[in-house]
């Protein structure tokens, strides 16, 4: 029997049982009907000791190819290979942050609460809006919650969503729309950016207009057009933003966004095979009573000392129950704390550097790859740190072959773009970590792969 974290000795167990008038652990389960008790044991593999298990982990790990010097990362599509320094990893793994629960007792949770207050401030600034919540699960969930907010605020179920929005997020939105009943209209792209003019606005009303900056194909969208559409239809303008790009672009709020959502992974969280990441969520003060999830506010204690506490709690599921606008309870607090630490490490200049260096690498990479015979641009609009290419070869095949050369060459564009001119494109992303030598190497390898 292996229960390495149960401290009780057999004697202690016997004594405790005796004090309860019991003679065996089984007797604790008198309330479980005999007919359904498990006869044998669970059908699970036998336990491994810690050192044996570490070997098993290493063996499994060896069957993975993480990004790094032997697999240089040009893949993005919502998950980016940014610098995460030792100091961020070290602080974010402090067990006071890692092993705490939701701050239900604020007197002994000021550490997490203040870190969240700082996080909320930073996210609100990046979004260019008044308030941000304490995180949601991921970018997709933030989008779903933003659309729920917009529909509730406007009373209109129609959602006009650009196809420039991350296709996985769109997929999650349509999954949840089966419950919420939102009617989602996807607006196609033209030359890489949303073709709002293609919309046939029969009813003229909408609950949400959703657009991404930059969009999934890396292009910069004209948010003023989206803003005008939102005004014309009475909708909330929901902008999906890239928090790193925010280091170089005007904030979505300054373009008139009502709700700003995003994937927080690029700010301090490892690629992690897709999770845990965190959903960024910011809105205007006027919508704060519809804000999903937790919100930390400042107050004072009985002695007048500054202190932090979760606030506007009456919005949340534990109080409002079936009338709550969101069911979120556990969120991604540790990732939010990590993000605050990373943004503190970056500072004003550092975030700008990350964005600028990523954009420079993208410019250089795009020019280098377009110089290869048979490689064409899949979009015309200006791009920032990611771009889509058409290859004379299936993108999946190119990615497989590039991996043999030591490059994760990008992500194939397919899901969510079926039947469009973008299907089959190769989406290439660069971060501040990509060097000239790596980009030259990718170009040489792609040339070889295409030959």
């Amino acid at each position: 029997m292996s229960a390495p974290f149960v401290p009780h000795t057999e004697d202690e167990i016997e004594n405790m049982l005796a004090s309860l008038g019991l003679s065996s652990l089984q007797e604790l389960y008198g309330a479980v009907p005999a007919a359904i008790r498990l006869a044998g044991g669970l059908d699970l593999p036998d336990p491994l000791s810690e050192p044996d298990l570490r070997e098993r982990l290493e063996a499994l790990g060896a069957a993975n190819r993480p990004v790094g010097a032997s697999l240089v990362c040009f893949a993005g599509a919502g998950a980016y290979d940014h610098e995460v320094p030792a100091v961020v990893r070290s602080l974010a793994s402090r067990s006071e942050f890692v092993t705490a629960y939701t701050p239900y007792q604020p007197e002994v949770a000021q550490g997490v609460l203040q870190a969240l207050f700082e996080y909320q401030t930073m996210v609100a600034r990046l979004a260019g809006l008044d308030v941000a919540n304490a995180s949601l699960y991921d970018g997709a969930t933030s989008l779903v919650e933003a659309v729920n907010l917009a529909v509730a605020a406007t009373g209109c179920h129609a959602v006009l969503c650009s196809q420039g929005v991350n296709p996985h997020w769109r997929a999650v939105m349509s999954t949840f729309a089966r419950g919420s009943g939102h009617e989602i209209v996807e607006v196609p792209l033209l030359r890489g950016v949303t073709n709002w003019a293609s919309l046939d606005l029969a009813s003229g009303k909408a609950g949400a207009v959703v657009v991404a900056l930059p969009n999934f194909l890396g292009c910069l969208e004209d948010l003023r057009q989206a803003r005008r559409l939102a005004e014309r239809t009475g909708a909330r303008l929901v902008v999906c933003f890239d928090p790193v790009a925010a280091g170089l672009l005007r904030t979505p709020g300054s373009f008139g966004a009502d709700v700003v959502v995003g994937e927080g992974q690029p700010l301090g969280t490892a690629l992690s095979f897709g999770g845990p990441y965190l959903g960024l969520f910011a809105c205007r003060l006027g919508d704060v009573r519809r804000l999903p999830g937790r919100l930390v506010g400042e107050t004072v204690d009985t002695e007048g000392r500054r202190a932090y506490v979760t606030t506007l709690r009456a919005r949340e599921q534990d109080i409002r129950r079936e009338r709550a606008s969101s069911n979120v309870c556990t969120n991604q607090t540790l990732m939010a704390v990590t993000t605050a630490i990373q943004l503190g490490w970056l500072g004003t200049g550092g975030l700008r550097q990350v964005a600028l260096r990523s954009a420079r690498a993208a410019r250089y990479a795009r020019e280098s790859l377009l110089a290869i015979d048979g490689v064409e641009a899949a979009t015309d609009a200006p791009v920032l740190r990611e771009f889509a290419l058409r290859l004379p070869l299936r993108a999946e095949t190119a990615i497989e072959r590039l991996a043999e050369e030591g490059y994760l060459g990008g992500v194939a564009v397919n899901e969510g773009y079926e039947g469009t001119s973008y299907a089959g494109a190769l989406l290439v992303a660069t971060t501040e970590r990509r060097t000239r030598a790596e980009i030259d190497g990718l170009a040489t390898s792609l040339e070889k792969v295409l030959r």
């Binding site: 092993t99 690629l271 490490w345």
Partner: protein
């Protein structure tokens, strides 16, 4: 049992009583901690890279601090924070057990943490194998046949499960509109029901603490899509009539949903599948010891019976015919419920925990969790009311009702006084059907000495109030914590949710001008 120092986990009074400025107040313009790779790329200026209409007038301001300041700041914040590593955390319904360090190490391995989620399967065979194995283990534990690992927390699992329920009824051309939940259910249950497009029907609890069967039968009809239940329930009791409940619901053509928040009590003893449940979510951040991270990340996989597996979210990690691992999408999938594949590193931690235990180890986990809770309840009987007086499972719900009547001491006061005595507080005022509820879950990882010390502390709090005939001591608590009781009403009335909203910019909180009470 005496509370000797050995094996006793409770914190010393917390350090960190000095308030800590925000990072914004520590900022000095021009200071920078960050540094980047040497890239040798052309240094095009921003104006060459971004058309003017997108260029900001000024960059977004972030704190500018040295690495040393950053470390001091977050280390000091961490000293103002209680955690499982510091001491017992008997928060009912949350299963705040010890989080094994090997799991941290596994989650930190570059071979896992460095894999891009869009990497082709050939580059992620280790991950895929691990996830397939985890799915099998979760199915074994719950008695189900297939699972999705995508949901990021319990509530996300609930919503996923309810959409599966809807898809199943749709496939049978049934338009059912209502989902039943007990009045003692966790708040996420009714919230998820509404968000999934159903209406909540609530059924009551009997005096013994079970679902009221006759009331349940009276609300069951062809409009009911399913029932959500946790068993052990939120009173910490095993539903004695569970088979009658699941039978009745099935007879009405509805499905049974298992909220797995309380699974820790029954690992290896009885499986939700054998109780008659059709859809099960698990909270890996409870039962399988993945740490809570101050409020997340968690993971809320959903396991189902064979008949429901065609509807599961996709893509799913799968063993393919050629012996390799890849992704497959179920034929009638409800679609994605996560940006990628779920909280993968949390799933990895749970896999590690399961592999350390094996079948008997898991059963021992459950048994000792139940033993601790029952032993604790017996110690508390002298000081607190025990509203549903039956042997409990992994947690016990007691009430400060009589204490309140006699001395004015409320559950909230007990919680705050307990913080002074070095423990985290239990869950209070939940479930709502118990007056002045204290919901206490010691978990199996707290030693008998720790549980005894917790019992002593709770008894002491009650004795104090009874001796004085008043609740003064507890009312003033906590005094040894980084801050005392907070003015929560003010936080809501005068919302300051960002540093930028702080009136006048940081005078220690005394923004009297905005405080309506003056």
């Amino acid at each position: 049992m005496t509370a000797s120092p050995g094996g006793r986990a409770l914190s010393a009074p917390l350090a960190g009583r000095e308030s800590e400025p925000t990072l914004f107040e520590l900022s000095v313009p021009g200071r920078q901690a960050s540094s980047f790779r040497t890239t040798s790329l052309p240094e095009w200026p921003a104006e060459d890279l971004v058309p003017g209409e997108w260029l900001p007038e000024a960059p977004v301001e972030l704190p500018e601090v040295s690495e040393r300041d950053l470390v001091a700041h977050f280390t000091r914040l961490s000293h103002r924070q209680y955690s499982v590593d510091l001491g017992a955390y008997p928060l009912g319904s949350c299963t705040m057990k010890y989080n094994p360090k090997l799991c941290d190490e596994a989650a930190g391995m570059a071979a896992f943490a460095g894999v891009h989620p869009a990497a082709p399967p050939a580059l992620a065979q280790g991950w895929l194998e691990l996830l397939v194995e985890l799915e099998e283990m979760l199915c074994a534990v719950t008695g189900m046949s297939a699972a999705t690992l995508q949901p990021a927390a319990g509530a996300a699992g609930e919503l996923t499960g309810l959409l599966l329920m809807r898809a199943w009824h749709d496939a049978h051309h049934e338009a059912r509109r209502r989902v039943i939940i007990p009045d003692a259910a966790h708040g996420t249950n009714p919230a998820s029901v509404t968000i999934s497009g159903y209406e909540v029907t609530t059924v009551g609890t009997t005096e013994r603490g079970d679902v009221d069967l006759s009331e349940l039968r009276s609300v069951l009809d062809t409009d009911v899509a399913g029932m959500m239940l946790t068993n052990p329930n939120t009173l910490g009791l095993f539903e004695e009539n569970i088979i009658a409940v699941t039978d009745a619901v099935h007879e009405a053509g509805a499905l049974m949903y298992y909220d797995g928040a309380n699974l820790n009590a029954i690992l290896g003893v009885v499986r939700p599948g054998d109780m008659g449940f059709d859809i099960v979510h698990l909270n890996l951040h409870k039962t399988f010891a993945t740490p809570h991270g101050g409020g997340g990340p968690g993971a809320g996989p959903v396991a189902v019976r064979t008949e429901l597996s065609p509807f599961l979210p996709g893509p799913r990690p799968s063993l393919l015919d050629d012996g390799s691992y890849g992704w497959t999408s179920p034929p009638r999938s409800i679609g994605r419920v996560h940006s990628w594949h779920g909280n993968a590193l949390v799933l990895l931690r749970a896999w590690t925990y399961l592999r350390l235990h094996g079948p008997e180890g898991l059963r021992r986990v459950a048994e000792v969790a139940v033993l601790n809770a029952n032993w604790l309840k017996e110690q508390l009987r002298a000081s607190y009311d025990v509203p549903y007086d039956r042997p409990v499972m992994h947690e016990c719900v007691v009430s400060a009702s009589s204490l309140e009547r006699d001395t004015g001491l409320r559950a909230l006061d007990v919680a705050k006084r307990l913080l002074e005595l070095g423990f985290h507080a239990p869950t209070i005022y939940f479930p709502h059907i118990v007056h002045e509820a204290l919901m206490i879950e010691p978990t199996e990882t707290e030693s008998p000495q720790t549980v005894a010390a917790l019992a002593d502390a709770l008894a002491e709090i009650a004795a104090e109030a009874r001796t004085a005939g008043r609740a003064d001591a507890a009312r003033a608590a906590p005094r040894t914590t980084p801050v005392g009781r907070l003015d929560e009403a003010r936080a809501a009335r005068n919302l300051v949710a960002t540093y930028d909203q702080r009136a006048g910019g940081g005078d220690g909180g005394g923004d009297g001008a905005h405080d309506s009470r003056g």
